[in-house]
Symmetry: C2
Subunit: 344 residues, 2 copies
């Protein structure tokens, strides 16, 4: 495989953070311990442990965790021999206080995550993380809603704050391989720091998109074993390791151990199989957050529409989390337009 | 999307044939009727109905069908308003007798399938199908085991017998996107007939491989709704239609109806979710038939090996169905080699 980088590929397993959404944040300490132990044994470089919405996410709004994430981070750290524990932080949800606490418990890496157009809110957190001596990466979410040029502008901000890598994050699983290629290529040309890529599998393209990102020079790669992540899940880690092995890319992660832990350790804690079902497919197709689905269905019932038409229009208008009130406006607009079409 | 063909994309849904393996050939007539009715309503071009191993496959060796496939074909034909019913035929399993019967019942298209190096055994069946006035396509299986040049030689044979399209069939889900690209490109350059592509999702690359095939000029495309096919299933049809719509390729198939039938009609008859589990991942990684797995596990136990090492070596030796006796030899060779390594 041709790669536009000579740095090694480093894998971050996110099933204990992104997968937290799939279990409604109900991971037990023993589940976290057993998964971390197996991933550490397989040689995975980083294992992310946080509430699904990052440090401090355990609230009524985002969903209460069963076990305090600090307790889970501490347990995870104690199981590692070579793997490093990573945490996710969304400024506005988590504060610098939780970051310091996670660091004190042994977390070595933080990804500071913002919407793709709001990198400026990451400055303080990136600064603090660097001061703490943590490996500090920027995480730009919903990248499919921004042009590559806008993404680059925001990535440069994160780099200027001190991020040691910037991630292209396909939160809705809406990017197609050529979209990924274009974005990673541009960042690789224009940034000095490493590039990361985080996929979702809503359009069944997570592994292919990840290969495209790696070819273009991404070296920080996220995956979730058995696709245990939000929506349709992420790049299935054990599958990615197998495909990279076939392409001659040695990640240092033990393929057979990954296959075994996927079956024997993660399999039993999957709340449901991570197939691509109607809801996640619609999200990837429309390019919107899954939190919109229920609101769109209600609006569709009220205006006599198909919820999918509303979601597609929301995607076109680049609606983001927190803009759920836009849904009624969109539904009203579509209904009005339909009526005019009938009249004409 | 740039496509190396100006012919329309035509979709063949294989969940009622390849998916027959997943239900141990126990489809009921009512299941077949309801799925065909929904697919016809969505505008799918072809719907394949046959035993998983093709016409005549209902035997002790390949597994008995619950309902006679001719009855299922007749029922399927009666449900169609625009879709056409296709059948699969493997010379050596099905005979010209069954083909005539299927044709008399209203099947309009046949795919004559052989191992990638054995196209010559398809001549009689392709001839007969053309004489019957059926649309007649060739189906070259396990294409990852042959060089592109060998594949071309065999595809030319099928074309010379009268095949109106030749399929690149990735039976083990072992091809990577660049492998697909190379093969379809060569066939597109050298053949006059249409090119088809049939994927399996063992490495989570079925949709991406199908996109690569379409870009290179393939126009006959297989999929299975909800991945209801052998192993990890095929290209998930409703996902492919969504991705093609995003790329501006109108297949004429109704995306929303496909999403709905995937959830409401096919979902309830899935015997299990079609995730990528250990068994199918190993098969795609090693590039061997799933029928080898049990034999390899037995041989592994006998020689104190990991079954996966045996399967990978079988893949390297290009073992094909019927060569299960090779498994013990391979296991013995690996064990011997390991012993020598310890001595040295």
């Amino acid at each position: 495989m041709k790669r536009n980088s000579d740095k090694p590929i480093r894998i971050t397993e996110v099933c204990l953070r992104d997968g937290s959404h799939s279990v409604a944040h109900q991971f037990t300490e023993e589940q976290v311990r057993s998964v971390v132990r197996a991933l550490d044994d397989a040689g995975v470089h980083y294992i992310e442990v946080s509430h699904g919405d990052g440090l401090g996410g355990s609230t009524l709004q985002y969903g209460r965790s069963l076990v305090d994430e600090m307790k889970l981070i501490e347990a995870a750290v104690s199981e590692c021999t070579t793997s490093k524990i990573a945490v996710l932080q969304l400024p506005g949800i988590g504060t610098v206080h939780e970051l310091k606490q996670a660091h004190a418990l042994g977390a070595k890496l933080v990804r500071v995550a913002t919407h793709v157009t709001e990198a400026d809110v990451s400055a303080q957190h990136i600064n603090m993380a660097r001061e703490l001596g943590m490996e500090t990466l920027g995480f730009l979410m919903m990248t499919h809603t921004a042009t590559p040029e806008k993404l680059l502008e925001q990535a440069k901000l994160m780099e200027s704050y001190g991020a040691e890598a910037v991630y292209v994050t396909d939160s809705a699983g809406a990017l197609l391989p050529d979209d990924v290629r274009e974005r990673v290529r541009l960042l690789r040309q224009e940034l000095s720091c490493e590039i990361g890529f985080h996929a979702h599998n809503n359009l069944s393209l997570a592994v292919a998109n990840t290969l495209a990102a790696i070819e273009e020079g991404a070296t920080r790669i996220d995956g979730s074993v058995r696709c245990l992540g939000a929506g349709a899940g992420n790049t299935q880690t054990e599958v990615l390791i197998a495909v990279l092995a076939r392409l001659g890319v040695d990640t240092g992660v033990d393929l057979y151990k990954m296959m075994d832990l996927a079956e024997d350790v993660v399999g039993p804690i999957l709340p449901r199989s991570q197939e691509i079902r109607k809801g996640s497919l619609v999200m990837g197709y429309a390019g919107v957050y899954s939190s919109f689905l229920l609101h769109a269905e209600r609006a569709a019932a009220r205006f006599g529409l198909d919820a999918r038409d509303i979601l597609v229009e929301l995607g076109r208008r680049k609606a983001i989390g927190g803009q759920e009130d836009m849904i009624i406006d969109v539904a009203a607009d579509i209904a009005k337009q339909r009526k005019q079409e009938v009249v004409q």
